[in-house]
């Protein structure tokens, strides 16, 4: 359970009613539940929720929670420990009751006081948690507990029902009694007078709104939270209902008002002051084209200290430095430092100061969440971009992403929803998808194979687009030595053939976002295996050990999120030892998932060497569950192709027997 909390401007008299009279009592154990040893509704599950009840009563400043759980395996015992976080001061967790019921009906009550442990404290703000563990838990036990939360009279609280749990839920009831009389204003001074709710529920299920501001939801057979590979941020896909006290009357009005207020704030922040105009005049020439002006200013703001990639100054540090909080674009420019948001807004201001037409765009970070228009909160948007309008086109720019080249956008901000300004006024928008041709990685090199299958060589990994951006940003946060270790671990260790060590020797172009980034990699080790007559080496240097996704997963519930389109090309030349010739090679060809992805393999054999070229194109970002079988079919074929090997014949001179003498 999470909640949005608003501090009310007035104390409500309704709170005088005591909630004690509505305390729950545990019901007698249900024999069918006690007998249960497995649950056909959740095969193989370690536990199931038999019943979940959550009730919030805002007029009474009171919430209650009840859960009854069946433990089916040892792992399910983990649910016996319950942590209840709360804010100290205005919130109290009370009336904690619990018991364990053994399959034979024996009841062991929770005795003793739950522990009250510190989570974190800063100044006069403190978060604690009440913690208890139910006693004598066995496989087969039914766990049952109940607790209440009470909050101060001058607070309003509306719940966010998180309905899907880690385990299957048989029966759930949620109930919220809202305040019908609210006396407070939002941060813009608008009177809050309504309650809205945001349901994300399966078809056929809805929240019932009855008189008196009471909302109820009854659900049965709720599947557990899904866990699939390459999922989009899961939080945005789970069943939930969020409630808001708001000044808006409906969703349409909310966004209409919200984007107007946001846009006005942007324009105020990005107002080009005289000093900013002077600075811009010094950075561009009147004869520059719009695009050149925009690029020069982009480079200038990218050169500033972006504190999201360095270090944000603390409040006390700013005081000691007598640095004021950034309130507009001029402040950012004068301080030569700011967050990604500050820098993006400064760039907008500078474009406008240069006389260019530019708009702010605010989107969700797609690595964190998906934009949901039904979720009435601008806070779900956390990244600011700039749209430059020139030559009849709009160019999306990402100045807040340090090291992101001009006209490149981080994948986290591509295919992302949000709000944007435009000549027609602010509105809801979505940013374009990344194209595979914009994100290219090439791994090219020569490896020299000796008669025993040993190998040495050098491979250059050349990256542009998102891969280059990723490593350049990592380089801002760690030194060269750590960066090499991380690259070895993420890009090489799981991809190179078993027995082969591959390490980055150095990087080229790490500090220049407009150049290709190159990792120069040295390799050595035992690439192949040898028999008396032959040597066998992996056909694909980088792919033979990599796990290909989706091959085994037969069904898909959640869309597949590849983050961004890309093209990866390997071109490795194996130099063979004297007397070794090709006996069996690779199958050339193309595997395609039309309009989505392709794998192209081509090998060329010459005396003393063989060159293997493989290109994987991923031309999509999201695949819906109904496209999954095509996607899976493609990756199954890729997996088969990746396992091919080269068979080399050798003169019958060298025989290798690994025989240790020992001592």
């Amino acid at each position: 359970m999470t909640k949005s909390i608003l501090l009310g401007s007035a104390v409500l008299l309704l709170a005088a009613v005591s909630p004690v009279s509505i305390h729950a009592q545990f019901q007698p154990p249900n024999p069918d539940e006690l007998k249960m040893t497995a649950d056909p509704a959740a095969p193989g599950a370690s536990a199931v929720y038999l019943e979940v009840k959550e009730m919030e009563n805002d007029p009474l400043h009171y919430e209650s929670f009840y859960q009854r759980i069946k433990v089916l395996t040892e792992k399910g015992k983990e649910l016996a420990t319950v942590e209840l976080p709360y804010l100290q001061g205005n919130w109290k967790v009370t009336d904690i009751k619990g018991r364990t019921i053994h399959p034979d009906g024996t009841i062991i009550p929770l005795v003793g006081k739950p522990e009250d442990l510190l989570i974190a404290k800063s100044g006069d703000r403190q978060a604690n948690k009440k913690v208890f563990t139910l006693p004598s838990v066995e496989v087969g036990s039914v766990l049952e507990y109940y607790y209440e939360i009470h909050y101060d009279d001058n607070w309003y609280s509306s719940p966010d029902w998180r309905i899907q749990q880690p385990y299957f839920v048989h029966k759930a009831r949620y109930e919220f009694t809202a305040n019908t009389v609210i006396e407070m204003a939002d941060s813009y001074g608008r009177i809050i007078r309504r309650l809205l709710w945001w349901p994300q529920l399966p078809a056929g299920v809805s929240v019932v709104n009855s008189v008196g501001g009471k909302f109820t939801l009854n659900m049965t057979d709720i599947p557990p939270q899904p866990d699939e590979e390459w999922m989009p941020p899961i939080d945005s896909l789970l069943y939930r209902v969020g409630f808001y006290y708001t000044a808006a009357t409906d969703s349409h009005t909310f966004w209409l008002d919200e984007v107007k207020i946001w846009s006005k704030g942007v324009d105020q922040f990005a107002e080009p002051s005289k000093s900013l105009k002077d600075a811009v005049a010094g950075l561009i020439a009147p004869t520059d084209s719009d695009l050149d002006k925009a690029k020069k200013l982009y480079i200038a703001v990218q050169a500033l200290d972006n504190t999201d990639f360095s270090r944000r100054k603390s409040e006390s540090e700013m005081k000691q430095l007598k640095v004021k909080e950034i309130k507009n674009a001029k402040d950012t420019w004068e301080q030569k430092s700011g967050s990604s948001e500050d820098i993006a807004m400064l760039y907008l201001a500078m474009l406008r100061a240069a006389g260019l037409t530019a708009y702010a765009v605010k989107v969700v970070d797609r690595d964190r969440n998906l934009f949901d228009v039904a979720y009435l909160s601008l806070y779900q948007l956390d990244s600011t971009l700039v749209a430059l309008s020139t030559g009849g086109k709009e160019i999306l720019l990402d100045p807040g992403e340090k090291m992101c080249p001009f006209q490149t956008v981080s994948w986290k901000h591509s295919s992302a929803g949000g709000v944007g300004q435009s000549a027609q006024g602010p509105s809801l928008i979505s940013t374009p998808e990344q194209q595979y041709k914009d994100n290219v990685t090439q791994r090219m090199g020569d490896v020299f194979v000796d008669a025993q299958g040993g190998v040495t060589g050098r491979i250059n990994i050349v990256m542009n687009g998102q891969a280059a951006l990723h490593w350049r940003q990592r380089a801002l946060e760690e030194d060269d030595s750590e960066l090499k270790k991380e690259f070895d671990s993420e890009e090489l260790a799981g991809r190179t053939p078993e027995g082969v060590e591959a390490h980055v020797d150095h990087f080229l172009g790490l500090n220049d976002p407009y150049a290709d980034l190159m990792a120069v990699v040295s390799v050595n080790g035992a690439l192949g295996t040898a028999t008396a007559k032959r040597m066998i080496v992996p056909g694909f240097f980088f792919e033979s050990r990599q796990t290909i996704p989706f091959v085994k997963e037969e069904k898909r519930v959640i869309p597949v999120d590849m983050h961004y389109g890309r093209r990866v090309t390997d071109e490795i030349t194996y130099h063979l030892p004297d007397g070794v010739t090709m006996e069996g090679g690779l199958q050339d060809g193309t595997i395609a998932w039309p309009n989505h992805a392709a794998l192209i393999v081509k090998s060329v054999s010459q005396p003393g060497q063989i060159t293997v070229r493989q290109t994987l194109l991923v031309g999509f970002t999201l695949a819906k569950p109904d496209e999954y079988q095509d996607l899976r079919g493609f990756y199954q074929k890729v997996a088969a192709a990746d396992q091919q090997q080269l068979v080399l014949s050798k003169s019958p001179v060298v025989a290798t027997t690994a025989t240790g003498k020992g001592n």
Partner: protein, 665 residues
């Protein structure tokens, strides 16, 4: 139980906190631009040592002062100067850990910025958090430890951070564990202890030659160490844990401050005996349950098994600690009622239940990271508690394998009740070859924990497969897992559901068989832990063998990696072999019609004193047969054995990768 610079805790924890405290009342600067205390000004003059390479920070200065009162209670002052060398250290913090019976007297921090400007941390730069928020992975119900953390200002590359704190330590804590080596280098570090007249101290050193102290005032001693290099094991393969290899020094000023290593171990064991006094006294319920459990037992081993398996199966692992609860268990009666507890609690309940049936057992303080407990360096530094069960004269049961013999001639069966899956008589691999403090009153002593014979642990694996002409492989594998191997499987089974097991196993086997599908799998757990765990599964692999022109390549070793990754770098530290054991594989692959074996890999035969490896591949008719046996006889090798170990591992790796070549007839 682990002790670290004034704190202690019992449980298996993820490395908590670098305790960084610092202190002095001489802190205040003379004016608003000169904020640093004098000691910090001096420390800031220390140049970055020339030998520092790639370290994120260097500790220019760290000094502890333990001021001990007449009752043995210490106030610890800690001062520290850290220079930030790399961007990943820009979030440098200092932290002081404290518990219910400890108190932070003061905590301050300053920064000398990269530009020479001075800063002082203000109230808003400090915050407190609980132990559960610091990456401690064990499910903790109650751990009252808290950390106060400061984020000093201006922590850019080139800046130097200074922190100082003073903390009143717990009244029962009479040991200082001076951690003189970490993941970053030190320029200068010092420890002072200021003792009241008449109070003695004893010192010991772990993996570092002893340094003589200077008596800077009457009974006030100072040790200094310069230029301590970092110990970074991230790129060292098959290494012991860093805590086993870090240099440390221990000082005792309580009951354990006695002359002689043996006497000191004895005193530590005796101290712990007193801490746990009467905790294991059996309640009537415990006595009744214990006696009922052993009612049908006819011999010592059966009695033990009845009790130990009861605890292993019925008492949930759960940590409950507050203050001295980091060392002291709960009362046996409470543990029995709640059916949960941590390692100390499980040991207490075991001792209690054994006592109820006439078997004597004692506490043994250990660390589950081999090499941490050093026989030459007495201390309470450790993280775990196990049990030593006295074996009566005349009992000579071969099932009692994990026997340690005390200096008193008594035989003890070493048993870990927290490990819910290793049967009594056996010993988890992580404890073998280590040491523990036997806490047995006047018979307290340090005892070596045994290294078991290879037949106490291992796997017997048989596989039958059919290969198709398109390279796909189907078949079944039947395995038997004994000892620690079986325990690991049981542990996995306990904490996973079917879906997770399938995922885990497909991923695990997928390392050998990319894109494998487990068409079925079944674990068979005998009721008795002493019996092997069986695992039977069937696989389908779409691209196991690979066409190469007219040839078909097939790897005879179908599953199971035994090779330990190693490299050619010069070796400075011991090699961890993890466990003794005996692993056997036997695989038969029926070839597709029309194919014959053209070539098989050569056999591999390696025999060393610490291990042996033998494998062979043969072809009989249309069946390709592979078999191998790997025997490990030691758990750890000195660095001088690196060449032998490398030879062994290369041979295993070569064998595991080798392919047979099939030809179409």
């Amino acid at each position: 139980m682990r002790r670290s610079s004034g704190t202690s805790r019992f449980l298996i924890v993820a490395a908590c906190c670098g305790m960084m405290l610092f202190g002095s009342n001489s802190a205040a600067g003379k004016d608003k631009d000169n904020l640093l205390p004098e000691w910090a000004v001096d420390a800031a003059k220390t140049p970055t040592p020339a030998g520092v390479k790639d370290a994120p920070t260097v500790i220019l200065f760290r000094e502890y002062l333990e001021a001990v009162d007449a009752q043995g209670r210490a106030v610890e002052r800690k001062r520290q100067a850290i220079r930030i060398l790399q961007p990943q250290a820009r979030d440098q913090v200092c932290a002081v850990w404290y518990d219910v019976d400890e108190k932070i007297n003061y905590f301050k921090a300053w920064t000398l910025g990269a530009d020479g400007r001075q800063y002082q941390a203000k109230d808003t730069d400090f915050f407190d958090h609980g132990a559960g928020e610091e990456g401690i992975v064990t499910p903790i119900l109650l751990d009252t430890h808290k950390a106060r953390v400061v984020h000093p200002p201006a922590t850019d590359v080139g800046a130097t951070v200074f922190c100082e704190s003073e903390e009143l330590r717990a009244p029962w804590d009479h040991e200082m564990d001076w951690e003189i080596q970490e993941r970053v280098p030190f320029a200068l570090e010092a420890l002072e202890i200021d003792l009241p007249p008449g109070l003695n101290f004893s010192e010991s050193w772990h993996r570092f030659p002893p340094v003589k102290p200077v008596e800077v005032a009457p009974n006030h001693w100072r040790w200094e160490i310069k230029d301590m290099p970092a110990l970074d094991l991230r790129d060292v393969k098959a290494s012991l844990e860093p805590e086993a290899l870090d240099a440390r020094m221990y000082v005792e000023w309580g009951d354990a401050a006695v002359a002689g290593v043996e006497s000191e171990w004895h005193a530590l064991g005796l101290w712990y005996t007193n801490i746990e006094s009467h905790r294991a006294d059996p309640s009537p319920e415990i006595t009744a349950e214990s006696q009922q459990l052993v009612a049908g037992a006819t011999d010592f081993f059966t009695k033990l098994t009845d009790i130990t398996e009861y605890i292993q199966k019925n008492v949930r692992y759960f940590v409950v600690e507050r203050g001295i609860g980091g060392f002291q268990s709960h009362f046996a009666g409470d543990i029995f009622r709640n059916r949960y507890g941590d390692c100390k609690d499980k040991t207490t309940l075991l001792i209690s239940m054994l006592q109820a049936v006439g078997i004597q057992a004692d506490y043994v303080l250990v660390d589950d990271r081999r090499g941490v407990v050093d026989p030459e360096a007495p201390s309470l530094y450790g993280n775990h508690m196990i049990t030593a069960i006295e074996i009566p004269d005349g009992v000579n049961d071969p099932r009692l394998m994990a026997i340690a013999t005390g200096k008193n001639g008594k035989r003890y069966l070493i048993f870990d009740p927290t490990n819910e899956h290793t049967p009594v008589g056996n010993l988890p691999y992580y404890l073998q070859g280590s040491y523990g403090i036997l806490s047995a009153g006047v018979e307290s002593q340090l005892i070596p924990l045994p290294v078991l014979a290879p037949d106490s642990n291992g796997t017997d694996e048989k596989g039958t497969f059919a290969l198709s002409a398109d390279g796909s492989l189907t078949g079944s594998v039947d395995t038997l897992h004994t000892g620690s191997e079986g325990a690991d499987f049981r542990w996995m089974l306990k904490y996973t559901d079917d879906k997770e097991r399938l995922k885990f196993w497909e991923k695990y086997i997928g390392q050998d068989l990319p894109d494998v599908t487990l068409t079925s799998f079944q674990f068979v757990q005998a009721t008795s832990l002493a019996k092997p765990l069986e695992f039977h599964y069937k696989v389908s692999v779409p691209n196991y063998a690979h066409q190469a022109g007219p040839l078909l390549l097939v790897r005879p070793r179908v599953v199971d990696d035994l090779a330990i990754p190693f490299d050619d770098k010069p070796r400075q530290v011991p090699i961890d072999l993890t466990a003794t054991g005996d692993w056997r594989d036997s695989f038969d692959i029926t070839l597709p019609p029309g194919y014959v074996v053209d070539e098989t890999p050569d056999p591999v035969n390696v025999d060393m004193d610490f291990a042996s490896y033998h494998s062979s591949t043969t072809a009989k008719g249309n069946v390709l047969h592979y078999e191998r046996e790997y025997v490990v006889r030691q758990v750890e090798l000195p660095p001088e054995k690196a060449a032998d170990f490398r030879k062994l591992e290369n041979a295993i790796l070569f064998d595991e990768k080798s392919a047979a070549v099939l030809k179409k007839q």
